[in-house]
Every structure is written in C-alpha cells, then in structure tokens.
Subunit: 283 residues, 2 copies
Amino acid sequence: MNDSSTWHYENFDSTGSAIGYRITRKLDEAQSPFQKIEIFESTDWGNIMLIDGAMMLTTKDNFLYHEMMSHPALFTHADPKRVVIIGGGDCGTLREVLRHPGVESATQCDIDEQVTRMAEKWFPELCESNSDSRAELLFDDGVAYMAHCPAGSVDIVIVDSTDPVGPAEGLFNKAFYESCFKALKDDGILVQQSESPLMLLDLIKEMRAEMGKAGFGTFKTLPFPQPCYPTGWWSCTLARKGGSFDFRTDDARNKPFVTRYYTADIHTGALATPPFVAEALGE
Amino acid sequence: MNDSSTWHYENFDSTGSAIGYRITRKLDEAQSPFQKIEIFESTDWGNIMLIDGAMMLTTKDNFLYHEMMSHPALFTHADPKRVVIIGGGDCGTLREVLRHPGVESATQCDIDEQVTRMAEKWFPELCESNSDSRAELLFDDGVAYMAHCPAGSVDIVIVDSTDPVGPAEGLFNKAFYESCFKALKDDGILVQQSESPLMLLDLIKEMRAEMGKAGFGTFKTLPFPQPCYPTGWWSCTLARKGGSFDFRTDDARNKPFVTRYYTADIHTGALATPPFVAEALGE
C-alpha cells in the first residue's frame, strides 16, 4: 500500500459511530461563501469530497445514492416531464434524472456554485449531462427557488441536500415542504434523502410529520446501502399528495439506460419495509 | 454525552475503509487458547464484542446478520430438520434457526468456548435458546466436525465464522466444502457469510469457485445491511448441489415467529442481484 497513506476518520455524534478512509493526499480545497470543500484521493474509493469536514461522496459508491435518489421516484410517477433538484451540486442526481427520455426539463438549484466547479474537476463522470439541453443549473437558494416556483408546474422535486444542519437546515421544515406541495402537480412526488434507517428513525418520523403538515398524505421510505454515510445504510423518503407507491414495473424492467444498482427488482425490494422500521414509523 | 467516552476505530486494510464506535468503557476481556475477546460498552450500539481487535457484533445491529444468515436458507430448503452451524459462538444464529418449529436438531460447533461464555454474559438475549432440547453446543474444530459428519445426514450447514484469516482460514477452501457437500443430503444447502458485495467481490468469486470444485452447482449471494462490518453492507452466499433458490414464500409470509428485519418481501428483495454484482460474479 502507499507508504504516505493516512486514515481520515469522521465521527457521527448522532449515531455514535464513525467511518474512515485511507487517503493518500489532498487534491484540492476551496472556501466558498457557504462552506469549506475539500477533495482527497483515497487508496480504494477513488476521490472523496468533504464539506465542512463531512463526507459527501466518493467515486466508488456514489452510484448507489444517485440511482436511488432518482429512479424510484421517476418510475413511480406516471409520466415525469419537469423535475427540480434542490441541492445536488455534484450533479450526479441530475445525470440520473436525464437518463429518462421523457424528462423535458430538469433544474438543479444548489446554493453553492463551488461544489459544482469541484465536481466538474474531480468527479467529471457525474457532470457529463450538465450540457444536456434539458438541464438548467442554478446557483441560488433552494428555499427561495421553491417558494417562487409557479403552482402546479413540477412533476418531481428531489431534495438532494446535506444533513439538516448549516446551509441545508431550511430544507427540512413545513415552510419548505409547503412550497414543494404548491409547486407540484396533483400527481407530483417529493423525494428527500432521509438518513439512516437503523439509527435515525426519529429524524425520518419528524420529516414525515413536517411533510404531513404541509399537505402530503402518503409516504414511503426506501432503504439502500451507502457505505460512505453513517452506518453505511441510508434511505430516501418519497411523499405524495395522495396515491400509492406502485411503480411502472415494466418500464423499469425495460429502461433504455444502464444502471449499476437500480433495477425493477431492487426497487421492489426497497419497498419492503423491515418490520423494525415499520414499527418505529407507525406504518 | 458521556464525558468519559472515547472513539474506537478499526481499519480494514482490504477495503481501505474504517468503522468506529463511541465507547464508554471496557466491560470484559479474556484471552482464550485461540484469540483475544474483548467486550466494550458503547453510547449507541449497546455492547460490542471484538475478537483480536476485529468487530464481531453489537447489541444494536446483530439482528440483521443473524436473521439473514438463517431464515433465507431455512425457507429455501423444503423441510429443514437437521442444521449444523460452524462457528456462530455468540449463539445468535442458533437462536434464529431454532425459531423454525420443523427443525429437529441444531448443532453449533465453535472452536472457542470462551466466545459463548462471553456471549452468555454480555449478549444474553442471543443465548436464550441455548437450553432448547433441540440444541447441541460443541466446542471443537469445525473442519474436523464436518469431516466426520455422517454422509447425507444434514439439511443445512451454516458457516458463521470470522474472516478467512486466523482460526477461520480453513473454512474457506475446497477441502472443507467437500466435507460439507458429503454431509449434506441431496437437497441440502450450504450458507456462508461472504463479506462486502461492494468491495470484496473477488473473495465471493473465489469462495464460489472453491465451492464449485467441491461439487456445488448453483450459488446465490444475498446482500444485507450490516453497519458494524466493513462498508456497512454485507452478504451471505447460498450454495446447493443443484436446483434453484426459489423459497417457500407463503411459509415465510406466515412464519410463526417475529423477526425485526427478515420478511418474505425482504428475502425476495435480497434475491435481486444488483447489476454491478452480477457482472463481477459472471451471473
């Protein structure tokens, strides 16, 4: 192994656990108006992005997250044409969304342009759809963007943010969810990353409660592996104004693009809520 | 948080990643003829057992592993009556196996009695079926035990061991698998923990190759979350002499016992091999 490698650890207070990586060197660093962004090279995980010291993504395992943040929602909606991504500055979710030929426009609104500039440089594969004519990249406040979104204009809102502290705090409360609710069409879907199903069920409960206050009526939390996040097990929560989480199984089975994790059967599997999660969420 | 807490990290050379826990104190320690066993108290994961410094289990998340090491195999076999567990000294797998009313006898053969003594003391809930009249606890060499097992006498062999280094090294090669093959009835199933599907696919491939040399004809690797093991994503591999991995779905759906993770739908989901895993395994 590389003689100059060292171990970088991140302690997660809320889970009482830590995750670490063997890194070889710091590749880049920038202080934006919002946060400090660092890129490290690792021995086994490719490049790693940290924001304010918190793990954001690695070359090796980000496909799990990006595929699960997008395809379950897009195959649940009957015909998603207009997608908004709040956060998502690394552009990986945008890339997955644009794999769907039926999507006519996808707007990514991340407050920090510097995240995207770093992603273009160190995770270019995630940015390969940024010049797609259907893509719009905005660098602005996602809370304000959603508040000003025309009513009933959006099919899917994907909230691909950091944890509910710091710049992303405003993306986890009733006021923001009300903006999403208003912007969505009647059959619209809101998706948000919802932390660890093992250790952070209270957060998922709280998130659902706030979404409920904003008008959303049905919820489904889909777990998936995500080694670089606390406990290595993560989730996204889908919310609808009403209606079920049945998905277009045949379309997912015959999707005209390649994925590394997501399949129709993986989607079906993720809909199977483990009993201890169902119990905690009162399902 | 507890002022005296400290962070304990374990670096995994083979994955270039680390996992850590916030621990409050060491509860116990023993040096057996085979290995050093330590028990720590943690802030969020209950008790933790380390063997030679390597994480074995936590109170919080062991149910994921123990349920997935047992129920998929037991619901795949048409009528499992005789089960052998090699390793498994914490007795958690034994407990899950004995939840099946049809099981007539389950032998657990772990080389290190001290592991079971420590489990009885610090993880008593895992040992609650040790006095079941169907249970036999042996403290002996699992390789020798399987070599002397009467031919065609066993329905399911579960290899619930540490990693393929140290005492468990002999449980990952053709000679051991030949003993299992001989001991199993024609419709028998071998199950073995098979490490991380994200980072250790070469190991799974090698394991399958050795099983194949011993005569096993069909294989299925089921992923599941296991936060305390490298990458937080783990797997078990099932091997059969022949035949499929269809399972008794209705029996699993109507099982007469409670589980916290395993359900028929979770089982179906785990049978959905992610494309990147299928590709690496040549499926």
